[in-house]
């Protein structure tokens, strides 16, 4: 990526917002109990980083997110493949999955707490449940919409079932699978925030709720900003992966 004048355009508005936020706080227009100044938030971050509290909370949250994504995404991907490739498998499992999909996964929180208490399993379960559906639906859709003409070409050219899958079906489904992954990443953070805010004794959500009890608004704001940064980071990683694997796609070709 080249950094020229156009790349800087995107930073103008955020920078202006930050500056005016700082200015209004310094002038006392925004009371500190409502929204502390950016410098105060940065100081809180520095303080928590110094004690190690920040780092341990970020890693525990990131760990929950990744484990939940791997489990839920992996199972969703497997069902997407199976149901995309086999009508029998689809008839058998898709109606049930679609039925479960109608339940908002966050509505499961009370039940999940009863089942697993407030330890790791509960959070991972909720994240896995949340990311399952976008990955499943988009994998299924991707496989179903692979160009039938290419599949016919592969057959006419003597590809085995495995070759057909590896060289035609999976690459053809990949753009759609990535759409599912990026949806899943959004849902992953959302689910984790809610789960950690409601019931946890570690993690970023807990840090925010704990700070609220002690009226530490700067830590609350800090937690929110870290969530945003982690979400952005995950999305950027997915984009990078997309760019690397979809370099053939006209949308990613260097102009």
């Amino acid at each position: 990526m080249r950094f020229d004048g156009k790349a800087l355009l995107a930073f103008i508005i955020p920078a202006a917002l930050l500056l005016s936020w700082q200015a209004l706080s310094s002038l006392g227009e925004i009371p500190e109990s409502v929204l502390p100044a950016p410098t105060a938030v940065a100081a809180a971050g520095w303080r928590l980083a110094w004690t190690g509290e920040l780092w341990s909370n970020v890693t525990i949250s990131a760990w929950r997110a990744v484990i939940g994504l791997v489990i839920g995404g992996g199972v969703g991907f497997a069902f997407g493949l199976a149901n995309g490739l086999s009508r029998l498998s689809e008839r058998l499992t898709d109606p049930t999955l679609q039925m479960i999909r109608t339940i908002p996964h966050l509505a499961m929180i009370p039940l999940v707490i009863l089942w697993f208490g407030i330890d790791e399993t509960a959070k991972i379960f909720l994240v896995a449940l949340g990311v399952f559906f976008p990955v499943y639906l988009n994998t299924l859709h991707g496989i179903r919409t692979v160009d039938a003409q290419l599949v016919e070409m592969g057959r006419a050219y003597g590809m085995s079932a495995w070759e057909l899958f590896a060289r035609v079906v999976l690459p053809g489904a990949l753009p759609s699978i990535f759409v599912g992954l990026r949806y899943a990443l959004g849902i992953m953070w959302l689910t984790l925030i809610v789960a950690e805010t409601i019931s946890a004794s570690t993690g970023l959500g807990y840090m925010a709720m704990n700070a609220r009890e002690f009226m530490m608004v700067d830590v609350v704001v800090l937690s929110i900003l870290i969530y945003a940064a982690l979400g952005k980071l995950a999305d950027s990683l997915a984009r990078l992966l997309e760019r690397a694997t979809l370099s053939w796609h006209p949308a990613y070709l260097p102009a």
Binding site: Q149, L150, E152, M153, G154, R155, A156, Y157, G158, M159, R167, V168, P171, G172, L174, L246, S247, W248, H249, P250, L253
Partner: protein, 280 residues
């Protein structure tokens, strides 16, 4: 060959004026006997008998939905006849290849890897790459091996598809209107390329097309299919390379079109491509 075709009320125009080319060993002869294919109630092919000697360039013309593409798919083994017998060469894997109307290149594979799709199985990666590169050179795209298909023009994509079809040195090349979507000039260029490749490799070629003049420019023999039956079987023995717009070609084209549109065939139906009037 048309004796037991009830629809055929004609004698095939048959003039062996150019010396018959020796059939290459590896080219496939085609033998269809009593071939029928129906989809539900609709009968697409009705009792077709056809023999194509090895190495012949056969063109099949006809209106949309006359069954010509179905015939081609049956030759390739992509479809099975409802009844009748099909024999194509020795039937070994990779001996028949098809070019579709669309290039059907894998967008996620580089040009060379797309050509490798057609390379014989089990030949090893290095051998496949070398054969693919050679096939690309043959269609004049040797320098584009590393490109993505999306940056190529329509004609170039179709040439990559031709290289993919040729890389296994097929005994039969089936062409399902492969030039239909190209602009007029690119189409003529591709016709010349096809002809030169065919003359070099001597496979049996079966071209399905709407375009009668294209059939006449390329084929040794043109058959017309109407309502699932063989309606005309015309030997075209004009010398090659053929000049488009020659008198003889125009005459043959008129004959086929008249048959297509149901006009009575002209009384005089001899001397197509007689040597003394051959246009080189």
């Amino acid at each position: 060959m048309t004796a037991n075709d009830p629809a055929a009320g004609f004698e095939p125009t048959r003039l062996a004026l150019t010396a018959p080319r020796p059939a290459p060993l590896e080219a496939a002869a085609i033998d269809l006997r009593g071939l029928s294919r129906s989809f539900g109630d609709k009968q697409v092919l009705r009792h077709v008998d056809l023999h194509v000697p090895a190495g012949q360039f056969l063109a099949i013309v006809g209106r949309s939905g006359c069954g010509k593409s179905t015939l081609l798919r049956i030759l390739l083994g992509l479809d099975a006849p409802t009844s009748g017998a099909v024999a194509v060469g020795d039937g070994r894997a990779g001996s028949s290849r098809i070019m579709f109307q669309e290039p059907r290149l894998l967008p996620w594979a580089r040009v060379l890897d797309n050509v490798r799709v057609g390379a014989p199985r089990g030949g090893g990666k290095a051998a496949g790459r070398a054969a693919a590169q050679a096939a690309l050179e043959q269609v004049g795209l040797g320098d584009r091996a590393g490109e993505w298909p999306s940056v190529l023009s329509g004609g170039q994509k179709q040439r990559v598809a031709l290289a993919r079809a040729l890389v296994s040195r097929p005994a039969l090349l089936a062409l399902d209107e492969p030039l239909g979507a190209l602009d007029a000039l690119t189409r003529i260029e591709m016709q010349n390329l096809l002809e030169s490749v065919w003359r070099r490799q001597r496979f049996t070629a079966v071209l399905v097309t709407h375009d009668v003049s294209e059939a006449l420019a390329l084929a040794d023999r043109v058959i017309l299919i109407e309502e699932g039956r063989l309606a005309l079987d015309l030997a075209v023995s004009l010398p090659r390379p053929r000049r488009r717009g020659s008198l003889e070609m125009a005459r043959l084209e008129g004959e086929i079109l008249d048959r297509l549109f149901g006009k009575p065939a002209p009384v005089e139906r001899v001397a197509a491509g007689a040597p003394q009037e051959a246009v080189a």
